[in-house]
């Protein structure tokens, strides 16, 4: 996951790119013949200093390698932002970056 976080004024702007195929049910059926092979990120969240700043439940209709841009208040330069996603098959990935 690529994460870029920048402090502007008192707002932290974050841009994150998660690497994931985001296979829909239809795509899975077409490619493998089984709808249950669909796999996509189902939940993604971000936290700073143990506080959740971004939290989303997602469906298969996000693009492949989905991009999330969000903003929040209450972060400082140098703070570490940590993001985690979970997909339908239970894989998880966590990455972090420093707020610039």
């Amino acid at each position: 996951m690529k994460i870029k976080a920048k402090l502007k004024g008192d707002i932290v702007k974050v841009k994150a790119l998660a690497k994931h195929d985001m296979t829909t049910y239809n795509q899975a059926e077409k490619k493998t013949g089984d709808r249950n092979n669909a796999n996509f990120i189902t939940h993604i969240s971000a936290s700073v200093n143990g506080k959740t700043v971004f939290d989303a439940s997602t469906s298969q209709f996000l693009s492949k390698n989905p991009i999330f841009k969000f903003q929040f208040k209450g972060g400082a330069k140098g703070d570490e932002i940590s993001m985690t996603w979970v997909d339908k098959k239970g894989n998880t990935k966590t990455d972090s970056s420093k707020i610039k």
Partner: protein, 150 residues
């Protein structure tokens, strides 16, 4: 991340599939499962929020008028409403729900996502305000090349 560690994390995740690092968060896929299988926007909204009549103001949905690539349509949702949740739906794909954001302290409703749409349609964003009211914004767009079959 080292490959070894990555595998370890993967194995651990498989062993304890239910234990998710974020504890304060709501997993709307678990709490509102019907939302994600509903085929129409109205049904999905009903499954998520119940029978509501949203006010059609206060929410702005931004998207290109004509999307050349239905596989990755940039969508922006903004609102100044003090909100609990923000949900995005569309009516072009087999199911309607796209994403549900849960707002946290210090959160700002200004989200950019990229989504798939199989055909031209309308994107609907619902904002659940802390005042108990619901607000709605929509954006209709044309999709030149559908992105759901991949």
């Amino acid at each position: 991340m080292l490959r070894r560690n990555f595998l370890k994390v993967g194995a651990l995740a498989a062993a304890s599939a239910v234990v998710v690092p974020q504890l304060s968060a709501t997993d709307f896929r678990a709490t509102k499962p019907d939302t994600w299988t509903a085929h129409t926007v109205d049904d999905a909204i009903k499954a998520l929020y119940g029978a509501i009549t949203p006010i059609e103001s206060g929410v702005t949905v931004g998207a290109p008028k004509v999307a050349s690539n239905g596989g990755a349509i940039p969508v922006n949702v903004t609102s100044d409403i003090d909100a609990k949740t923000v949900a995005v739906f569309q009516d072009a794909n087999p199911e309607a729900a796209v994403i549900v954001f849960e707002m946290n302290e210090g959160g700002i409703i200004n989200y950019d996502i990229k989504m798939k749409m199989g055909a031209s349609g309308t994107i609907t964003a619902i904002v659940e305000g802390k005042d108990g009211k619901f607000y709605k914004g929509t954006k209709t767009l044309e999709v030149a090349l559908g992105g759901c079959e991949g």
